[in-house]
């Protein structure tokens, strides 16, 4: 789908994903690998197994990275974080 072919129904929900993108960028500054895990899984639709292969880490590490990164992103997006 080219950009020309995509038009947007402007909606509130768009803002959510922009905020997630911002938070993900912030995470990348502190922790590139964990943000990459989120990127691959949520934006890329890769399974943990595939992510493990791409990043050359174990599947367990992917799961742990995912848990932490997601918890942190959740905190940022719901405003329950300390910073």
């Amino acid at each position: 789908m080219s950009l020309e072919e995509v038009a947007v129904v402007a909606r509130e929900q768009g803002a959510e994903i922009v905020r997630l993108d911002d938070a993900l960028n912030a995470l990348a500054k502190m922790d590139p690998r964990r943000s990459q895990v989120v990127e691959l899984r949520y934006f890329g639709g890769l399974s943990n197994e595939e992510i493990a292969r791409v990043l050359k880490i174990s599947e367990n590490t992917v799961t742990r990275d995912w848990n932490l990164a997601r918890a942190w992103l959740y905190q940022q997006l719901t405003g329950s974080g300390a910073n």
């Binding site: 072919e5 909606r11 639709g45």
Partner: protein, 620 residues
């Protein structure tokens, strides 16, 4: 938060989460207060995120409602229905899309309790009563055929000044989106083509010609990949006037009063048959042509007939034979498929398959043969078990989704008033995270030469360290490696156009090399071209390969990535981008890299963050 602090938090989080109940409390109690508080909060968030299934799916799917197709990129059509609005017995649930023919909504039929797609036809189409009458008739007949690959039409309705069509709702995507500018595997192409032809076969039996077979009119259902052909009969009422043509109205068209409205939709002409392009009478065989164009596109990622303008395209449709699919050697297209496609693309309709059924039979037997061959290959080589196939299949999907996600994010950002894609891309390349700062850039390259005689390699390939003087029959590969990670771009300087502008061909990154990324990890070898050999254009005398190796991503060159596919053989077709590249190279080639020629390779060094170097490939 500093990265060090984050490291500490993540370490404690990781340990804590692996413990439960009291062990976890005990462990956390041993940490200092602020650390414990932070980690406890994170664990809370972790549990809540779990419960809410926070970002549990895939972005593109979660946010699919943000995307709407506008397949002829006109201005956003006005939406005539809104959510929760009632239209007859239908309650509008959501907007699905908008195209030339009108808008499409997701709706609920309150009488039968089923979900339907509601297509509200554009005013200019629906205002012609006679055309509508005919459309209604054809659409009804087609859908009453009850063929599983034809989208079922439930109802044709009119309320007030709105004409609408209630159809089966297919949860899936159009073949256009499904292909997404990429090639499909042969097996998949056959699956899709066979289903399209099965739909056509049934329709043709009922004497209905689709007239507008194209990827936008083929849907692929998500859950089972069943193909549905849309809009039977609709083409007739929406087709545009063929102004570039003889001006002679065909008898058939005149007789049935299906002349097109002057302001009707401008469709794509790439799938039109020669007779269609000339506004001559058409029949079932036009659908056979269009299906073959689609097969060609699915296999090669390219359109068989595509000129700079519509008129050029028409000339190609009328006169040119497309490049045979078998010439895309890396695709391993079966000769039989080429035969089928080329027969279906006969300029003279009498030489084509005369019925969809005949073509269907040929495609089916080809598929059967390939399935058998695959089975034999699989059983005879236990070394390559099924898993490889599964991995291949699974690798295609995420990539596609990611691109979809990119488009999605880009558009979401655009609504936020930010200029989209570049920003998103550059934020995603994470230029500083992966590349360690160094005082100078170092890049090593070497050239492998293979002699060819009569199109076949002969003698063993040998390696030369640097620039090269070609002899007849030489073909080469160039390999690169660096002890540093960095952004690598390799371009070949193409023919100079009449305008005096140079065109560039992007060789690296490519969609297959390095997963399309320009970021090259340290000590990884890259070879160009990956699978074939680089041939020298004898006419030109000198060819140049530009090597750019940089600490930071170079936006001018990253922008070329869309040309890195085989679609245009890497040729950068956008003049503005060519200009930007030219400017970049001119600006930076003055500070040329130092080349040190070894026995087998040349090492280039340039102070600072950027290395730019032209490798000359000369002919005797």
């Amino acid at each position: 938060m500093t990265p060090e602090r984050w490291q500490e938090i993540s370490r404690v989080f990781k340990s804590a989460i692996s413990l439960d109940g009291e062990a976890r409390s005990a462990y956390l109690n041993r940490q200092d207060d602020s650390l414990r508080a932070e980690v406890e909060k994170l664990i809370d968030s972790h549990q809540q995120a779990d419960g809410e299934k926070f970002i549990d799916g895939v972005a593109a799917e979660d946010n699919a409602h943000l995307l709407v197709l506008d397949d002829d990129s006109r201005e956003e059509p006005s939406r005539r229905l809104s959510k929760d609005q009632q239209l007859g017995s239908y309650l509008v649930l959501d907007t699905l899309g908008a195209g030339g023919m009108g808008e499409v909504y997701l709706a609920r039929d309150s009488r039968l309790g089923r979900t339907v797609a509601l297509k509200v036809l554009a005013q200019d189409i629906s205002s012609d009563k006679r055309r509508m009458q005919r459309f209604r008739q054809e659409a009804k007949i087609a859908s009453s055929l009850n063929q599983p690959n034809i989208l079922t039409i439930f109802e044709f309705g009119e309320t007030g000044d709105l004409t609408f069509l209630a159809t089966e709702f297919v949860d899936g995507e159009t073949l256009r989106d499904y292909m997404h500018g990429k090639r499909l595997k042969i097996g998949e192409v056959l699956d899709i083509a066979i289903q399209v032809l099965a739909a056509l076969d049934a329709a043709h039996d009922a004497r209905i010609v689709h007239r507008d077979i194209k990827p936008e009119n083929v849907m692929i259902r998500r859950r089972d990949r069943v193909v549905k052909v849309l809009d039977f009969g609709l083409a007739k009422v929406t087709e545009r006037k063929s102004t570039m043509l003889t001006g002679q109205e065909s008898e058939l068209e005149a007789a049935t009063e299906f002349k097109t409205a002057p302001h009707s939709v401008m469709g794509t002409i790439n799938y039109m048959s020669p007779e269609q392009a000339q506004a001559q009478p058409i029949d079932e065989r036009t659908d056979i042509w269009s299906t073959a164009v689609m097969i060609y596109e699915m296999v090669s990622g390219m359109l068989p007939f595509k000129g700079a303008t519509d008129s050029h395209t028409i000339v190609q449709i009328l006169e040119k034979d497309p490049v045979p699919l078998t010439q895309f050697t890396q695709l391993k297209v079966p000769a039989e498929l080429q035969r089928i496609v080329s027969k279906a693309l006969s300029k003279n309709a009498d030489e084509r398959y005369q019925t969809a059924k005949d073509m269907l039979i040929d495609l089916r037997s080809l598929k059967k043969r390939l399935d058998v061959e695959t089975e034999i290959e699989r059983t005879s080589s236990p070394e390559t078990p099924r898993a490889t196939v599964a991995i291949e299949a699974s690798e295609r999907r995420p990539q596609k989704r990611r691109v979809l996600a990119i488009a999605l994010i880009a558009m979401a950002l655009a609504t936020a008033g930010i200029f989209a894609l570049n920003l998103w891309r550059s934020s995603r390349t994470r230029s500083n995270a992966a590349v360690a700062p160094v005082e100078q850039r170092t890049l090593t390259y070497w050239i492998t030469v293979q002699k060819f005689r009569d199109g076949k390699p002969y003698q063993n390939p040998f390696t030369v360290p640097g620039e090269i003087l070609f002899e007849t029959g030489y073909q080469i590969r160039v390999s690169f490696r660096s002890p540093q990670s960095g952004y690598l771009y390799v371009l070949s300087e193409g023919p100079r156009e009449a305008s005096g502008q140079t065109q560039f061909v992007t060789l690296f990154p490519s969609t297959t090399a390095n997963k399309g990324s320009s970021l090259l990890p340290a000590d990884q070898v890259v070879q160009i071209p990956e699978a074939s050999w680089f041939r020298f254009d004898r006419q030109q005398g000198t060819e140049r390969l530009w090597l750019v190796f940089s600490s930071d991503a170079v936006p001018e060159l990253d922008a070329l990535r869309e040309f890195a596919s085989t679609r245009t053989a890497g040729l950068v077709t956008d003049p503005a981008k060519n200009r930007a590249v030219q400017n970049f190279l001119t600006q930076h080639s003055a500070e040329q890299a130092k080349a040190e020629k070894g026995d087998a390779q040349t090492t280039l060094q340039a102070p600072g963050k950027l290395l730019v170097y032209p490798v000359k490939l000369e002919h005797h």
